[in-house]
Amino acid sequence: MSIKIVIPPGLRVFTDDKGEIEVGGDTVGECLENLAALFPMIGKTIFFQKGELFNFGHNKVSIYLNGEDAYPDELGRPVKDGDTIHILYSISGG
């Protein structure tokens, strides 16, 4: 089982500048936890706490599965070999 996770440019400082990481897992949540195991700082950016996406009263992180918004219940979504997960965080500059 190989799932591709696309890392946004702003978070590549935590992945040795890698823009795509292959991980295993049966759900989006498992894949992201496996990513966090490889790159702990990514985990601190994505997860507010175990099993919950980063949230400080606000929802900063969005997850897209195969190009589709995975909201709601992003972490529980099942994945299959060849799927792609995009991590997207809010930006607001103008």
Binding site: V6, P8, P9, G10, R12, G19, N55, G57, H58, N59, K60, S62, Y64, G67, E68, D69, Y71, H86, L88, S90, I91, S92, G93, G94
Partner: protein, 249 residues
């Protein structure tokens, strides 16, 4: 009715397939609200002015600072300390004397957002914070006019076109606010993003092409890639959830 100067000035776009004098007339009759006159607002206002949008209402409270000059291309060395609205007005009036500029030195907040956007045909998002974007999103929904979203950070950009009641709105996509921050940015990033926003506005007004609706375009300048993500209306959206859904949604 287009005058002889306008017919000559806009000739290269009038001869585009599907555009014609009819399309140019639609641009002339239109009024665009441009929220902010900084990194995004500069290319947006320049290209909408050059395209011949009849009226540009530009709102910005700030004055030009030296640290703006790497990206806010409407403002120059000699403008430091000058209100951005005043600086923009001077440049755009010289750029195209056929159009009308309404440059207002105001902040956009809950008390005035509906009044400021009243009578406009569309809203161009050139803000630097998500909170004001949410206010503009609500104004677009209230007035039932499109909202052309853009945002930048470093060499990243996001763009989408919002048609109230038909497409995902900004609140469907970003489900919460984030703190205003001093964000890193290279001047070319708002150049790329602002030009795409302006393209979408012109397409909308003239009715040509396919709009960037229900699609979030993600620009990765570092990898030089454009990525398209599919977005959809959220039935629980606090901004647009009350609007009726079509059967296929």
């Amino acid at each position: 009715m287009l005058n002889s100067n306008e017919l000559e000035r806009y000739d290269r776009q009038i001869i585009m397939r599907g555009f014609g004098e009819e399309g140019q007339e639609k641009l002339k009759q239109a009024k665009a609200f441009i929220a902010g006159c900084g990194g995004l607002g500069s290319p947006i206002s320049i290209y909408l002015a050059e395209a011949g949008i009849g009226t540009l209402r530009i709102v910005d409270l700030d004055t030009v600072d030296t640290s703006n000059l790497n990206r806010q291309i409407l403002h120059w060395d000699t403008d430091v300390g000058v209100p951005k609205a005043e600086s923009a007005n001077a440049k755009l009036c010289n750029m195209n004397s056929n159009i009308k500029i309404e440059a207002l030195r105001e902040t956009i907040d809950e008390s005035n957002v509906y009044e400021l956007t009243e009578g406009c045909d569309l809203i161009m998002d050139a803000m630097d914070n998500l909170g004001t974007r949410f206010l503009l999103n609500q104004a677009a929904i209230k007035h039932n006019i499109p909202y052309f979203h853009g945002a930048v950070h470093g060499l990243e950009g996001r763009i989408t076109t919002i048609i109230p009641g038909e497409t995902a709105c900004i609140r469907c996509i970003y489900r919460g606010d984030i703190p205003k921050e001093k964000f890193p940015v290279l001047g070319v990033t708002p150049g790329v993003v602002g030009c795409i926003q302006a393209t979408e506005a012109i397409k909308y007004l003239t009715g040509i092409g396919k709009l960037l609706t229900n699609r979030l375009l993600v620009y990765d300048g570092l990898g030089m890639k454009f990525m398209e993500l599919s977005v959809k209306r959220d039935p629980e959206c606090p901004h647009c959830g009350h609007l009726p859904f079509k059967k296929e949604e």
